[in-house]
Symmetry: C2
Subunit: 293 residues, 2 copies
Amino acid sequence: MAKILSGKEVAEAMNARIREKTARLAAQGVVPKLAVIRCGEDPSDLSYERGILKRASVTGIETEQILLPASVTAEELISRIEELNADPGVHGVLLFRPLPAGLRLMEREICNHLVPEKDVDSMTDLSCAGVYEGKDLGFPPCTPSACMEILRYYGYDPAGKNAVVIGRSLVVGKPMAMMLLAANATVTVCHTKTADIKEVTSRADLIVTSAGRAGFLTGEYVRPGQTVIDVSVNWDPGKNDGRGGITGDAVFGEIEPLVDAVTPVPGGVGSVTTSVLMSHVAEAAEKFPAAKD
Amino acid sequence: MAKILSGKEVAEAMNARIREKTARLAAQGVVPKLAVIRCGEDPSDLSYERGILKRASVTGIETEQILLPASVTAEELISRIEELNADPGVHGVLLFRPLPAGLRLMEREICNHLVPEKDVDSMTDLSCAGVYEGKDLGFPPCTPSACMEILRYYGYDPAGKNAVVIGRSLVVGKPMAMMLLAANATVTVCHTKTADIKEVTSRADLIVTSAGRAGFLTGEYVRPGQTVIDVSVNWDPGKNDGRGGITGDAVFGEIEPLVDAVTPVPGGVGSVTTSVLMSHVAEAAEKFPAAKD
């Protein structure tokens, strides 16, 4: 019987801390503000946007929605980003990605127009350099930060532990490895070319899985004493009596009886990421309050 | 009896390839040029500089020495870097670090004034982002690149192998981990806070050690079948009948009879790094030939 690491609980504690910070800033005349740029009407963007607007409102963060057509040109989008860079009342900028098909090839170039001080969702090269170098430059991606918040909340210190990260993407695997290294874990990164992931995970103290494959992490991959953070959000059409639903990499029914602690999906890492985003906006406003007028 | 992975042999093969490239560029009117900035007269800078000038001359690369007093101000140094950025005849810039004591606190800021296209020694945040993101942005540090060149030359493919990197610095450990990941190895990073490095290395196929401690890697850390790359350059006062000499992390006499292959120190990784630097200059000149006049 594993301890269930509830993301909701972590998010609530974070939200309370963010509210304290935004109230303190408001008393100084600074209202932290997040600008959200959406190009087109992608359903998953709309869903994420709703979550962001709601979480912002409960944490005392103002939002500004910038809605552009899916046919927006790179020049137009870049000029909007430059305007937000120059706007002292905006502390953070989030741009929904992937961008519409016509802009896909220029995505990285477009993203890099944002100044790192406002890059609360880690979309620039300089934010990447920040998490890699372990220095205060831009912001780290929200998902691995959410994993660290969960570990911190539940009192898990990665120092000296064997941590295994499954996946090597720039949004989860690599930054997760960097953060765990910074927290003094011994870190192993596994991926699709790893000869025997099972053999690697069985030796771990901490497993962070972002394989993105439902049913991937079976009971054979784990052992008693481990903590499992399941980052993946996969669609399982058979869930909820055939209506479908989201699920992680872990076969929860097999993992849960074996390990010490595990995050559920839903209700785990995903519940925390939007609070991390808000904490970045509050932090940006604290560091660069700029407009007090 | 291990195969000795001679760095000199790798460097010679690289030098021949670089000469071919620089000859081809010269035929197109482009002479690859490296600007070397030295502040003060630090003996280790002078020694490294001699090596660079010599390696440049044998590989068809022009050099320009910029010698500044140790008392140079940050503004003066930055303005020299900006001049080199703007100079279409200069393809790469190397600045000896650490900078003199008075500039130490501003070192990173100074370094970041160099454009990534000319950052052949990986001193900017954007070069860091390049190696971390695995994209063509700036250049990776020369030392881990030298390790990859050695593996390539001797036909060692890291794909699917368990690679262990000892050390997590930005000049060796972290970029080495990123390069081995890009080469599809399963990568573990160990460091001073690792509970039991011996236990980790004993499971590895490939060990890259940059602990920086003479005598650290004893026979107990290795087993038959492994390849060991010894990156460290430590001073051993007892070597050469008490005259002193450089030595790696490995206790060579213990390692060599056990493992499959090992790099010596001296004559291993260190012999290759300056050739990597030259290959970066040639590559920069190939990508951005600029001045043909």
